[in-house]
């Protein structure tokens, strides 16, 4: 996805006028369309049609009224938004600082941010569980303990947000890095500083507006990942959307497929919302 942000511009500008590339484009579009749409259409048909009863939307009705639909969806959405906010607040200033004042640390940061990609989720959760147990023992006698207990909320697991921040780090880093590469960060920051802008002003009025598409793609990826994440949430015993889907669909074929289609549609709508939120101020 990081590569997609970098490719956006050339794709828009390159427009060969010859006939052959156009024919090729149509072929590629057709193939890609078939690849994506045929399974989707088949699944949809499977959920609404039964030879004995004909066309019926019963599976969907059953799903929407099932217990836990709204709460698990809200939890996933909340987790996604919190993760986006936290990961952007964490990475953007850090990446800018590294770029501007410690360029030599860039490879270190890159490796650190890519690390979650190579650690299997199951290992990650096992490590997380161990850390939580050890952490409890170590932190119990400290004065922070009461605060730590106070911020725990079974309805909104902060530990999941922290885990997701780590998991999405590689994707967010890649997107932002691609975005920062397209602009001369140092000169723009210095120009703004020279015109009297404070650091927060530089960040909000100069860096963020020019990084919109990168921020949007980082948010996309985060949201998609949080919505689809199963392992960590399941093993830590929470029930966000992905876990709920697996629980509810169980052994009923039609319902489980209906759930997949519904979640696909939902995520698609959410991504559309994110992209329009970022694209709003763009001319």
């Amino acid at each position: 996805m990081a590569a997609v942000t970098g490719l956006e511009q050339p794709l828009v500008t390159a427009s060969p006028r010859t006939a052959r590339p156009r024919a090729w484009r149509a072929v590629v579009l057709l193939l890609a369309g078939l690849y994506f749409l045929v399974p989707l259409g088949a699944s949809l048909w499977y959920t609404i049609y039964t030879p004995t009863m004909g066309v019926s939307f019963e599976a969907y009705g059953e799903l929407l009224t099932a217990e836990g639909f709204a709460s698990s969806l809200a939890l996933s959405l909340g987790l996604g938004l919190a993760t986006i906010a936290l990961v952007l607040l964490l990475t953007l200033p850090a990446m800018l600082a590294v770029r501007l004042s410690a360029p030599r640390l860039r490879p270190v940061m890159e490796v650190l941010c890519t690390l979650p990609l190579v650690v299997p989720p199951i290992t990650f959760v096992a490590g997380l569980g161990t850390s939580l147990r050890t952490g409890a023992e170590v932190l119990a006698p400290t004065p922070f303990w009461a605060t730590l207990i106070a911020v725990q909320d079974p309805a909104f697991p902060i530990v999941l947000v922290l885990a997701y921040v780590v998991l999405v780090l590689p994707f967010v880093y890649r997107s932002l890095d691609a975005g920062l590469r397209t602009m001369d960060v140092r000169t723009l920051v210095e120009a703004a500083r020279n015109l009297g802008a404070s650091w927060p002003h530089v960040l909000l009025r100069v860096v963020v507006p020019n990084l919109r598409s990168a921020l949007a793609s980082a948010s996309f990826l985060t949201l998609a990942l949080v919505f689809g994440e199963f392992t960590v949430a399941r093993l830590l015993g929470y029930q966000p959307f992905a876990v709920w889907i697996v629980t509810i669909s169980g052994s009923r074929g039609q319902v489980s497929v209906a759930v997949s289609i519904l979640s696909l549609l939902l995520i698609w709508l959410l991504l559309l919302a994110v992209s329009s939120a970022f694209g709003r101020e763009k001319k």
Binding site: D184, T187, E190, A191, N194, L195, G196, A197, H201, V206
Partner: protein, 359 residues
């Protein structure tokens, strides 16, 4: 609005490279000073110390006698134009110019009016609604100039603002910068590696080398009376001709005896420094020299002449090109005027010319 800028014993070291090595320079109010030198001589670092992007390891930068070394960049009163295009891509020309005013919470109507006025000043009244990617390089630098002037700074800092532009735009814009600077009377520091640029617009030229000031003076003075061999080489082109000190205060070179500018060295074998335009060339059947290469430059022709034992460069008016084609035998005469001498060198820096033995 105009201010005096002082560099006091400025020192800045990056790892192993010494960017500034005790730079001392005072720029008077309203003066246009060009910092000239090869890349890596510390000229940009000096400018960035004034802007606040670079902190000197020791020494101080003073504006109107006040030490601003510890003032953060966004609290300094200096407008800067950068070498690379630095306009904010998400803002149109007017909003770019008004950026600083917006930071200072100037009302919308006032900053719009001010921005339009400045765009008119830099000759782009009709481009206010264009975005940077819709402007040419020269137009972008004009907008950047307007943006730097919008806050009416006490000092204008120009960091090679013309180096990314093509030749014609470069000349036009540099003259415009000078005109604006004279109109506004703003103290200006202009960093460049292009000696022609520096000589043509500055009140004073400061030549830097390895973080030290080699010479500072009016353009004509720096050109005609370079204080060091480095300045002589860097500003314009110099012939190094072997000469011999003859008598008191004169030197014999290419068969002529010319007065020495400055004290005569102890050693009688010297290099005589001669500008190409001080070499006169006339075609002659039995001339001692021969034209090797003639490169036509429009107004002038640069000739590379083969002399007995070496080569010499000469600049002659462009219309003489037809008479002085390669292979022509010529006689060479030096213009009668005081010349600079330097200790005899074997290796000669730019331009690479073998010292010609005296005839």
């Amino acid at each position: 609005m105009t201010s005096k800028v002082e560099f006091r014993d400025l020192r800045r070291i990056f790892g192993k490279t010494v960017a500034l090595d005790g730079l001392d320079l005072t720029i008077e109010p309203g003066e246009f000073v060009a910092l000239l030198g090869p890349s890596g001589c510390g000229k940009t670092t000096a400018l960035r110390c004034v802007a606040g992007f670079e902190r000197p390891d020791s020494g101080a930068v003073l504006v109107d006698g006040k030490d601003i070394t510890d003032v953060p960049a966004n609290k300094r009163d200096a407008g800067m134009v950068f070498q690379s295009y630095s306009l904010f891509p998400n803002l149109n020309a007017r909003d770019n110019v008004a950026f600083g005013l917006r930071v200072r919470r100037v009302p919308v109507a006032v900053r719009r009016a001010k921005a339009d006025e400045l765009l008119e000043l830099v000759g782009l009244p009709a481009h206010a609604d264009r975005f940077p990617h819709q402007l040419s390089g020269g137009q972008q630098q004009r907008v950047a100039l307007a943006r730097a002037l919008a806050l009416e700074p006490r000092v204008l800092l120009l960091d090679e603002p013309l180096s990314a532009l093509d030749a014609k735009v470069r000349v036009a814009l540099r003259e415009e910068i000078r005109r604006l600077q004279l109109d506004l009377g703003i103290t200006t520091i202009f960093v460049t590696h292009d000696q022609e640029e520096a000589l043509s617009i500055a009140d004073r030229v400061a030549v830097l080398r390895d973080g030290r000031l080699e010479q500072v003076g009016a353009p004509a003075e720096v050109y005609d009376r370079p204080a060091t061999p480095f300045v002589a080489e860097f500003v314009g082109t110099m012939n190094h001709l072997a000469g011999r000190v003859s008598g008191t205060g004169s030197v014999t070179v290419l068969g002529r005896t010319l007065p020495i500018d400055g004290p005569a060295p102890a050693d009688s074998d010297v290099d005589v420094l001669i500008r190409p335009e001080a070499v006169q060339v006339t075609p002659a059947e039995d001339g001692a020299a021969e034209v090797l290469v003639a490169s036509f430059r429009g107004a002038s022709v640069r000739l590379r002449l083969a002399l007995e034992g070496g080569e010499v460069l000469a600049d002659v008016p462009g219309h003489e090109a037809v008479r002085l084609t390669p292979g022509t035998r010529v006689t060479v005469r030096l213009v009668e005027r005081p010349v600079l001498v330097a200790p005899r060198t074997v290796t000669v820096p730019v331009p690479v010319i073998e010292p010609a033995d005296a005839v």
